[in-house]
Each structure stands twice: as C-alpha cells, then as structure tokens.
C-alpha cells in the first residue's frame, strides 16, 4: 500500500479501525521510525488556533505507559494523529482467545494504568492547564508490550479537545453516565434519595454502532435523564419517561469506571454487563476480597461512590498488603499482644517492686522492733517508743501489714497491759562519761550525778540535765542534797552549796572531796582528800569547827582517781553533833562537835580498810572489813557508849543507815535491824548476791551480781526486776516516786518512776485471802478467788458471801472455773465435785470414779461401767453410756479403754457442733473427729494436753513448747511460748489469748496472739480472767483488787504513742 501522508509518513498497513477512524502503521520517511497514524474523518469544529494549542498539549504528554503523540495534522479533510508505535498486542486479543490473566499480573497492570491516569488527569496539561480524560479505556486500548508492561493507547483526541460529538461507548467498559444515566448521590433518580435533584450537567451524544461501542439507541430510553415533573419527584422514580437524550462529558471517574471494568474483564475473562447495576460481583473464591472490593468500588454506578481520582485507586492498589484484612488482623493482634505483654511486663515488674519494697520495709520493721526492745531493756522508753513507731509505717501498697513483732514492740514500750503498781522505766540521762556517784533529792524529783570532772543535776521527770557544775577531779568527789532545792558538792574551788531552783551558788568553803550533811540539814562537813582535818560548816557556810585528826588521814590511793569513796566513812549524826571518821591505820573515831577533845574511839588502829556506817538516832552502826574479808558489824548507843548489837563475820556486809532504820545486806538478803534488840526483818531477798542497795523508808532497790536491779515494797515483796544487760549496776538510789540505776562503766542513768493504776481498779477483795486465781462471773455480780485448797465467793464490793474448803485438797489435780455459770469444777483422780458459783453449794459430787476428764463442753466421768457427761453449768447429766476398762468419756462417741487401745485421751473439744478429741499413744498424738474417725497424727511429748479452738488444735506438753496445728490442713501452724505451762486458751474476736503458769516463780500471765498466725502481740502479766462480753482483760496482782483493761487496737496505740499520752 505505500501511501505517503503529509509527505512524511508512509502508510505501511492498516492495523485497526473503530468508531473514531482507521489506524495505520506508518514509517517516518526521514527518521525511519515506526509510528501509528490515526486517521479520523469526523468533522472537527474546533478553531485551528485552539486546535494547534491542544495538539501541542497532547504532544507534551510524556509517560512510560502512554505513547508519545508526535504530531497532528489535517489532510484531505482527515485528521491525522501521529503516535508512537507500541509493539505488542492489545489485551482484547488474548481475551478473545479465552485467556485469563493472573491476579498479580492484573494488579501490576492496574498500577501502571493508574499511574498513567494520574498523569493524564493531573490538571497541568496545556493552556489553560487542565486534565485529560481518556474516556475509552478498554482492553483493546491497552497494549501488552514484550517487556511485560502495558501502554494505554487510543486517546480520544476529540474528547480531549472538548468536542461534543465524538464520544464512543464501549459496552461493558463505558460508565453509566456516558450512557446518560445518572446514579449520582444528589440525583432524584437514586432509590434512596428524596432530596431535590440538582441541575444535571450531563450530556450525551449519539454514538456509532460498532462492535466495540453501543449506540445510544440501544440504551433503554427510559433510562435517559430528564427533568422530572413534581409528581414524579414525589414518587421517587429512578428514570424519566422522556426519550430526550442528554450529553455527558466523561470525567476522571468515568475513566475509573472503565478501568475497573477492564480489570474485571482481565481477571474474570468476562466482559462486565453494560448495565452497571447488573454487573455480577467477582467471585470471592477466585480473587482476593480486596481486589474485588477495589474493582467493585471503581465500578460503582454512582460516580460519587467510586474512587474520585486515579490517585485514590492507585493508593489502594499499592497498599494491598497494608489494607489486606489479614494484615489488619495481624496488626490488631500485634497491638493487642504488645499491649498484653506490656501489661504483664509492667504488672510483673510493679508487683516485684511492690514485693521488694514490702520485703525491705518488713526487714526494716523487724529491725526497728528489735531496736525498740533493746531500747526498752536499756530503760530508754522514749527511744523504744520511737523505734516502735518506726517499725509501724503507715499501711499502704508499698508497706506490708504490721508485723506481730512491731505491734508487740509498741505494746511493750507503752506498757499498756502492765497495770501493776510499781517502778517502771521512765527516762534515761546520757552523760559524757561514766558515772562515779549518784544521789536523788528527798522528793525524788531531781538527781545529781558525778562523772569525770563535773557534776550534773537532772530532772527525773524529763530526764533533762538542768545544770553542770565543775568539781574536783577525783573519784572521791562527793555530792549531797541538803534539801530538795540545795545541793552541796565538791566544787573545783571549794565545797559549794548550790541552789538548783534559782540556779545560783549559795556559799563556798574550803576544798573538800568527801562530804557529809546532817539529817536536819543544818550542818555540813567536808574532808579534802587525805587531809588530816575536817571542816564543819553551818547551813550558811560559816565554819563551825575544824576537826583535827591529829595526823591521821583517811585511806586514799596515791592516784585518787582509782580510790573507792565507799571504803571511807565520814558521816554526821542527825543533829550534826557527832562526826564519825575512819582512818588509813584502821582507826575509827566519833568526834563530838561540842567537845572535840573528847572523841569516841571505836578503833585506834586495826587491819580494817573498808568502813561503812552512819547514825540512826542515838545509835551509830558500822561495818568494818579487811582485805581478807574479815568483818565486824556493830551498833553502838552513843549516849551510853554501849554496843547493843554486834557480829563477827568472815565476809563483808554492806550497811545502809538513815534516821529511821539500819539496813544490813547479807549476800542476797537485806534486813532491817532493830538497834536495841537486834531483831531482823527481811526487807529484800534476791536470787543472787546484792552489790548495792538503797531504801527510802518504804521501797527498796537492790542491784545484784547478775546485773539486775530489783524493787521491793514495804512488805519485802518483789515488785519489779530489770536487767542492765552487759553493764553492771553499781549505783542505785530511790526516793519517793523515783529511782535511779547506773553502772560505773556506762554513761547512761536509768530513771524509773512509780506508777499506779488505781483508775483501772474494778473489784476489790481481802488481800489476805490466799488464792491462785480470781474470776468474775458472767453478770459481774460475784468474784471467785480459788485454789486447790478452797474458794471464796465475794460480791463486787469484796464482801464475802461464802468460804468453802475443798475436801482432800491434796488429791485435786485440776480445777476449772465455768465462766457461764460461775461454777467451779474440781477434778480428782477418782472423784468429781461441782460447786455453785452463786452460793458455793455442791451441785454435783461423785466418788469412786475410774476417770475424770474436763472438757469445755462438760465434765466426763467414768465409774467403770457408766460414762457420764456432766453439764458444768447445771450439774445435770447430758450424755450417758457404757464403757469398759479404766477410762471413759463422751467425745461425740463414747470413748473407753477399748477404743484407746493403750493410748491416753489428752483432750477433747467441741467446735460449733463438731466434736474432736486427741489420743496420745507412744508419743504420737492422734486427732479424731466426733465419729471416731482418725483425722491426722503428729508427734507429741508424754504428758501433753490439747486445746481445741476455732479450726485449730494446740498440743501442749507439760514441759515443752506448745504447737498449733490446723484441723483443716493438718499442718503445723507455729510453736507457742516456750518453757511455760499453757493452762487455758480463749478466742476473743481477732485474738487468741493463752494463759500460762510458770511454776518456778509462781507466776501467771497471758499472751495476746494473732488469731490466724498465733504470733505474740503482747504480754499480759498477771492476767487472771477474760471478759468475753466486753472484750476486756482482767488482772490480779494479789493486792486486793482486780484491774481491768480493754484490748487496744494497734491504731489506737499508735495514736497514743504519737501524742505521748500514756497516762
């Protein structure tokens, strides 16, 4: 065919034809390049200059997937477009062959096509800049190149130019609006729309009826667009009935639709239905849901619901993986998992942190509790309370619950359950160096202490040092109280009288170390070290006399830092008339101030080097010892110069004399001696030798070699005992309500204060009545004081209702007070007696028994054939049955020797309605239920007994440590207090109270324990009874009164400690 067009192009062959014209393969004659010449015979109405400009715009299109438009010219009324030749075949050909393409392949082409469309639709082409719509995307217009890419060809140039009569419709690929169908959202013809239709700007043109395109006439004319009548609007009908055809100019969304339809065809191998609403969905079995979704959206009849731009659609194609439901699901899973792991990590770390914090807090708490106990033992109450509070940090997330040790530390330091009258640790005074001497004022409210080179006066109430005064640097330096306000001390510059109330010096005299003041406070005597005279002053500091020793001097070491002032005697009589002094040569003389030349010689010389003594009225008492311990003791009537009492001893005895009494300490006993008769009366008795003691006329304090110091009342009963720990107790003094104790190797002075708790008195009784225990009955109308020998019933005022002697008391092995009725059960080995708590009358009595066993639910007696359970309240028989052998009891079942099989029933209990009992055999304790079924067994010592309480059993050996076991888990919970005999166990709200008896000291006490852990919370000294109704504890100090205390919750104790109000 060799036709030359425009003198440039040689037509080679026809390669296609369609509604828009014929397409030739041509060759550029000069360049030799293959091109496509598209000849369009349709009339172009556009003006030439506009035509040129638009062609130039097309020529500027440069994109990988769009063939280059090289030229555009008109020849012979034919419009020629010169386009780049694209090798390959159009995709319609393989489709016609029945080929289908893989989804990945189609996606790749889709992206390439969309890239091309993005480029085309971009409003940057030409002048003025605008986008270009292809308007005829279909497989036939997509070239499949040999390299696997595609090329979008066959632009409808006329459409690009805005021509009105150019559009060709490719059935199945053309968008509905190209057919004049308006499914847009604001159209009145949409089924759901009831809004007013906006003015339609769609136009349709006639099309050529080709194989590729469908003429408008084939479209259902009812589907053309027309302005509806008002009636039709109301009906909402989709189509008008008019046959008026409209003109549509396709926009980007039309290309989107066409592309979607093309992809549909490429995937399914089927051309989509030309009617957009009748297009079948792609099968989810064959294609990915996301691809179906994209194509479906692209092919939405409503252009408003399609992709609004090629970019949008391209975005979806290029983000298939990201938008794939599986990816989204994975994202959700990873987010959820990350959150979960983070939660667990943070939670685990936080939990661990909380646990660690609580562990550390608990360790600190336990340490502080121990510090508190140590401070308490050293007598520093304030510090003990402070540490106890430190051991109880406020409960919270990071702080564990209070430990039992901490609670006990606070309880102990506050002493809330110690209601006994007596001297209690009060304060401490800390000194710069060790104590050398100590004295209390007559009223006990101040104390004076000598240490190193000073003397300090302190308040016994506050423990604060009031004044520090310089003294002679000597171990002999002395200090004495004249009265409550005035002290005389061995001042650095001379003996000094000082008023501690006004804080000023009263008078000063000659140097002195050893000082004595007459009991009437009017005379002061002083000796300076080993001088051979004493200076005697009146109360105003005027020298009354100078007593010459005629060359004799007291026994002083060369370095008197090491001298013991207690080895020398220098003392004035009560009225100051006589002065007794011992000397280095063993002499002892009494000088008469009224007649100094006429002194009384006790010893001229002797081997004695240790003298103690003083004046008691007209008597002078002394002890004198030598280095070998040989001693003499004597009491001399000064007026008669007659020895009234005397003794030779082979050991030293300390002596303490005041104006009222003469006390002698013989090893571990202190006695007061009648100076006339020599009669001795015991004042104190300790379990180890007494090293030093003091007495204020009422109470005695004695320090022992065991580093204890012990208090005794006026009837020589021991009231308190405290331990100094590692330090020895070398100095004690007592005056009225205060006492002090110190050691010469400690810098701490302990101050104790007498406390009385009369406000806690609840009931009184005759103190003379000897009893072991005291109980109050349920309605608090009567008190019973009892022992194995008998009992006394009193009313609440202490008035005796009845005294009863228990027969054969020596055969009694157990007694139990029955709280409910106030009765007293007395158990013998072969008899049982039950006494009324109201009248003291016998409610039940039986002898000749084989066994008697008390249980909380009644008393079990067995006479060899009959087992009876006696009600402890009424004395009536609750249960009776038969048994054999030497033992019988009711424990839910009747247990006799046959059941026991060589074992011993050591206890039984009833918890709610369930019976339990324990049998000891071969050091194995077997726990049974009330049906006789064995529950579990544990090892136990001989002579044990059991207590059943709550859901636990306590196995308590006579000599050993009670242990608590759980009836539910059969596991051991804990051990209880060691070395004490557990006599009774009571459950009271959140507490368990164990009552103990210490036979060594005949001491009864209770222990308050946590109900669940059995940890000790407080000691309850002298506990005698528990008022379950009022949740109160009752104490008996055997002083004629019972005292009552409630159980303090820990928070209340903390408040008390913080407020400092312990009284």
């Amino acid at each position: 065919m060799s036709e030359i067009i425009a003198g440039t192009y040689e037509l080679k062959n026809k390669i296609g034809s369609g509604g828009g014209g014929v397409v030739y393969l041509a060759e550029h004659l000069r360049l030799g390049k293959k091109v496509v010449l598209k000849a369009d015979k349709r009339k172009i109405t556009t003006r030439p200059e506009i035509l040129r400009r638009e062609v130039d715009a097309l020529k500027d299109l440069k994109h990988t997937y769009i063939p280059q438009v090289y030229d555009f010219f008109i020849e012979d009324d034919t419009v020629y477009t010169v386009i780049d030749y694209v090798e390959g075949e159009s995709l319609d050909k393989p489709l016609k062959r029945g080929e289908k393409f893989s989804q990945p392949q189609v996606i790749k082409w889709a992206c390439e096509l969309l890239e091309a469309l993005c480029y085309l639709h971009n409003p940057v082409h030409g002048t003025p800049p605008k986008g270009i719509v292809h308007s005829d995307i279909k497989p036939a217009n997509i070239m499949f190149k040999p390299d696997g890419d595609i090329c979008l060809i066959d632009f409808n140039i006329a459409l690009a130019l805005g021509e009105e009569n150019v559009v060709g419709l490719s059935a199945g690929y053309a968008s509905p609006e190209q057919y004049g169908l308006d499914f847009s959202t604001d159209s009145v013809f949409t089924e759901s729309s009831k809004s007013k239709r906006k003015s339609a700007k769609r136009k349709t043109t006639a099309v050529n009826d080709t194989a590729e395109t469908v003429a408008m006439k084939n479209i259902d004319e009812t589907k053309t667009l027309k302005m509806p009548t008002s009636e039709q609007s109301k009906n909402g009908s989709k189509y008008s009935s008019s046959s008026l055809k409209k003109i549509i100019v396709p926009d980007a969304r039309s290309d989107i639709y066409s592309l979607g339809a093309t992809l549909y065809h490429l995937l399914s191998g089927k051309r989509p239905h030309k009617n957009a609403v009748e297009v079948e969905f792609l099968s989810g079995d064959d294609f990915s849901p996301l691809i179906i979704k994209i194509i479906t959206k692209a092919m939405n009849p409503n252009p408003d619901l399609r992709y609004q731009s090629a970019e949008e659609m391209l975005y979806d194609f290029t983000h298939l993986r990201e938008n794939d439901p599986r990816t989204k699901k994975r994202k959700k899973i990873i987010i959820a998992a990350s959150m979960l792991f983070s939660l667990f990590l943070v939670g685990g770390a936080f939990t661990s942190f909380v646990g660690l914090s609580r562990m550390e807090t608990m360790q600190k708490s336990l340490a502080f509790a121990e510090y508190s106990q140590n401070a308490l033992e050293s007598g520093d109450i304030d510090l003990a309370i402070k540490y106890a509070l430190d051991a109880l940090p406020e409960e919270g997330l990071l702080n564990p619950p209070y430990t039992a040790q901490s609670k006990k530390a606070l309880t102990d330091s506050l002493g809330v359950y110690d209601l006994s009258d007596g001297f209690k640790p009060h304060k401490i005074v800390e000194l710069p160096s060790e104590t050398l001497k100590i004295a209390l004022s007559p009223d006990g409210k101040t104390g004076a202490v000598v240490y190193s080179s000073s003397t300090a006066v302190f308040s016994t109430e506050t423990g604060e040092i009031m004044v520090i005064l310089p003294i002679v640097k000597s171990a002999l330096s002395d200090i004495k109280y004249v009265n409550n306000d005035v002290i005389v001390y061995a001042g650095e510059k001379g003996i000094t009288a000082y008023n501690i109330k006004t804080n000023n010096e009263i008078w000063k005299g000659k140097p002195a170390t050893h000082i004595s003041i007459s009991a009437d406070g009017q005379t002061v005597a002083g000796i300076y070290r080993d001088e051979t005279f004493a200076t005697v002053y009146d109360i105003n500091g005027n020298i009354k006399a100078t007593v010459s020793f005629k060359g004799n001097k007291q026994h002083i070491l060369e370095n008197d830092t090491f001298s013991d002032p207690e080895y020398n005697l220098m003392t004035l009589s009560a009225n100051g008339q006589y002065l007794a002094v011992n000397f280095e040569n063993g002499g002892l003389r009494i000088y008469d101030m009224e007649d100094l030349e006429n002194d009384i010689e006790i010893y001229d010389k002797s081997d004695f080097n240790h003298f103690e003594g003083g004046f008691c009225g007209k008597y002078f008492a002394y002890t004198a010892s030598d280095t070998k311990g040989i001693s003499e003791f004597a009491i001399i009537d000064i007026s008669e110069l007659v020895q009234t009492v005397g003794a030779d001893l082979d050991y030293h005895m300390d002596i303490l004399i005041n104006e009222k009494n003469i006390y002698l300490c013989d090893k571990n006993t202190i006695v007061s001696i009648n100076p006339i008769t020599g009669e001795q009366k015991e004042t104190a008795y300790t379990d180890s030798d007494i090293t030093v003691f003091a007495n204020d006329g009422v109470n005695t304090i004695a320090a022992t070699k065991k580093n204890n110091f012990v208090f005794f009342d006026e009837i020589a009963s021991k009231t308190e005992e405290y331990n100094m720990g590692q330090a020895a107790c070398n100095f004690v003094d007592i005056s009225k309500d205060y006492a002090v104790a110190a050691g010469n190797d400690t810098r701490v002075i302990r101050i104790l204060k007498k406390k009385q708790y009369e406000s806690a008195n609840t009931y009184s009784y005759d103190e003379e009545y000897v009893h072991d225990e005291a109980r109050i009955n349920k309605d608090e109308s009567k008190i019973m004081l009892f022992s194995y020998k008998g009992f006394r019933i009193c009313d609440i005022d202490g008035k005796v209702i009845k005294d009863v002697l228990i027969p054969n008391a020596e055969k009694v092995f157990d007694q139990q007070y029955i709280k409910n009725s106030g009765n007293l059960a007395v158990m013998y080995k072969d008899a049982f007696r039950l006494y009324s708590g109201e009248t003291g009358d016998l409610l039940y009595e039986e002898e000749g028994l084989k066994s008697v066993l008390y249980t909380p639910y009644g008393v079990n007696i067995f006479n060899g054939t009959d087992i009876k359970l006696i009600d402890s309240d009424s004395g009536k028989i609750l249960e009776s049955g038969k048994g054999s052998g030497n033992f019988g009891a009711y424990c839910g079942i009747f247990v006799d020797e046959k059941f026991l099989d060589g074992g011993t029933l050591i206890g039984a209990g009833k918890i709610k309605e369930d019976y339990y009992f324990a049998v000891l055999k071969d050091e194995i304790c077997i726990i049974y239920d009330g049906k006789g079924e064995k529950l579990f067994e544990v090892s136990a010592e001989k002579q044990s007994e059991t207590f059943f309480i709550d859901t636990k059993v306590i196995i308590s050996p006579l000599h050993g440590t009670p242990a608590v076991y759980s009836l539910e888990t059969e596991q051991k919970i804990t051990d209880l207090e060691k070395d004490a005999y557990l006599t009774y166990v009571t459950e009271l709200n959140d507490y368990i109270i164990g009552e103990y008896y210490l036979s060594v000291s005949d001491e009864r006490y209770g222990i308050l324990m946590d109900k669940n852990t059995f940890e000790t919370l407080a000691y309850l000294p002298d506990l005698t009874d528990i008022d379950i109704n009022k949740n109160e504890l009752i104490f008996d100090f055997h002083k004629g009164t019972l005292r009552r205390s409630r159980i303090y919750p820990i928070n209340e104790l903390i408040n008390i400690a913080k407020e400092g109000d312990m009284d």
Partner: protein, 54 residues
C-alpha cells in the same frame, strides 16, 4: 493476702515468663509474617514490582 516474697518472686516470674512468651510470640509472628508475605506475593505479586513510580 499474698506474702511479700510471693509478690517479689512472683513478679519476677511473671516478667520472665512474659519475656519468654513475647520472644516466642514474636518469633512465631515473624514466621507467620514471612508466610503471609509469600501468600501476598502469590496474590498480589512481588512487592517490588507493584506500584513503581514514574
């Protein structure tokens, strides 16, 4: 309720178990990702060939 030691050691155990579980989970997750990517390659084509910009 819970002892302090239980909280402390329990918390540590939880952290350790969580870390181990997380490692196992993420390893399995990574393996699953590789498999899914293979599926995606099969369904959507290899990633490098899709969406080349021009």
């Amino acid at each position: 309720m819970f002892s302090n030691e239980l909280l402390f050691y329990g918390g540590i155990v939880v952290v350790i178990l969580t870390l181990i579980s997380a490692v196992i989970f993420f390893v399995l997750f990574y393996v699953n990702k590789i498999k899914l990517n293979a599926k995606f390659d099969k369904e959507y084509g290899e990633k490098s060939k899709v969406g080349k910009k021009r």
